[in-house]
């Protein structure tokens, strides 16, 4: 089971990388929120009702403001962390000659990318 121990050890390194990734994403999010220009007192009231607007529409309505872009960069970074984990896991299994599991991880990555694309308005 030396193979399994090696995989676990490498996976642990990936997990530590993820932890720092969360810290980085958190910093971007915090900066974006803190730099956000002061909104009117009723700004939060707009979240009582649901208005479907794509990300692009929302950003253009806010003139692609830098703080908003920074905050969204943090969100993209955060959401990409599990995808990165799965991609690295697939590579890990491939290196350890576990081709079936590697393909399985790769298919999970493919499904994740498809699911993200579902949010795009065509």
């Amino acid at each position: 089971m030396k193979n399994d121990e090696q995989i676990e050890s490498l996976e642990m390194r990936i997990a530590i990388l993820l932890r720092w990734g969360v810290v980085g994403a958190g910093i971007f999010l915090a900066c974006g929120i803190l730099l956000h220009p002061a909104m009117g007192p009723n700004s939060f009231g707009s979240y009582h009702d649901y208005q479907q607007r794509s990300l692009g529409t929302y950003l253009s309505e806010n003139n692609f403001s830098a703080p908003l872009l920074i905050a969204y960069a943090g969100l993209f970074w955060l959401i990409s962390l599990p995808l990165i984990r799965v991609a690295l896991t697939s590579f890990l299994f491939w290196r350890q000659k576990e081709k079936t599991l590697s393909m399985m991880a790769l298919s999970v990555l493919g499904l994740l990318l498809i699911s993200c694309a579902l949010g795009l308005e065509i």
Binding site: I33, S54, L55, L81, T89, M104, L111, G119
Partner: protein
């Protein structure tokens, strides 16, 4: 309608308020072994009047943050069945895709009803006594893919995969990690030891949440003004909760929380019928 009227507060005051509430949610979640979503979504919707679709989307972000941040901890104890996690993620991610597609068409009132039902189910699961029935016999798929552990077998693999598919649908629909369903599937159907089920489930939760979070983000449902303080607060609260756990009377808190879960469940169901 909400318990707190935030419209008179400034933007930064609102963000601070959200973060404080989320710290509490993360703290409680860590103490009770529950994810943030089960607390965050009812608080955002019932107490703060945030629309449930924005609340669900924000909750998914907090799940990714806590899961990714804690992954090293899950692996350190060497309880996580990594091979099984990769295999089952095929089910959860597929389910999450379906869940997101359903969320486009489902009415918000149904989301409240589903969430209320899920809270009641969670309360019942917290009451149940867990009995471990371990086996060293494995399903042929588990043998072929070497999914079994050193001291346990993995049974009913197709059933487990199907259960993960269902857990993925709920994760995307309700903004939860579905850990409670995953643990139940691995424990009762696949006959894994409880600690292995919990560790493996926690390891998978972030991937499940990210499956729909990306779509919600592009659809514009994830707003940094809500998701940001919620995610940051939950990470911090979970960190404190994990350290405070040994000193807290967890059993008493657990019993109080079961009662609170039942009350909130009734409120969510009531809101579902009347919205």
């Amino acid at each position: 309608m909400s318990f707190f009227d935030l419209t008179s507060l400034s933007f930064l005051q609102i963000e601070l308020f959200l973060m404080i509430i989320s710290i509490g949610a993360g703290f409680l979640g860590a103490l009770l072994g529950l994810g943030g979503g089960i607390i965050v979504v009812p608080v955002l919707t019932l107490c703060l009047g945030v629309h449930i679709r924005y609340a669900i989307a924000a909750s998914l972000i907090s799940i990714i943050a806590t899961s990714s941040g804690a992954a090293a901890g899950f692996l350190k104890d060497r309880l996580t069945n990594l091979r099984l996690a990769v295999f089952l993620e095929v089910g959860t991610v597929s389910g999450a895709i379906i869940g997101f597609l359903i969320s486009r068409w489902i009415q918000s009132s149904w989301l409240f009803l589903l969430f209320g039902g899920f809270l009641m189910f969670s309360a019942l699961m917290m009451l149940r006594r867990r009995e471990e029935i371990l086996t060293t016999v494995s399903h042929p798929w588990a043998q072929k893919l070497r999914l079994s552990g050193d001291t346990y077998g993995v049974q009913q693999v197709p059933l487990g995969l199907f259960a993960m598919f269902g857990a993925g649908i709920l994760s995307a629909l309700l903004g939860i990690g579905s850990g409670i369903f995953k643990v139940m599937a691995m424990d009762m159907a696949m006959k894994l030891p409880m600690k292995v089920s919990s560790a493996t489930s926690n390891f998978m939760i972030g991937v499940t949440a990210s499956a729909s979070a990306g779509a919600y983000l592009l659809r514009g449902d994830i707003r940094p003004e809500i998701a940001g303080p919620v995610a940051l607060g939950i990470i911090f609260g979970s960190w404190i909760g994990a350290r405070a756990m040994v000193r807290m009377p967890t059993q008493i808190i657990r019993q109080i929380f079961i009662v609170v879960l039942c009350i909130v469940s009734v409120q969510m169901i009531w809101k579902g019928f009347h919205s």
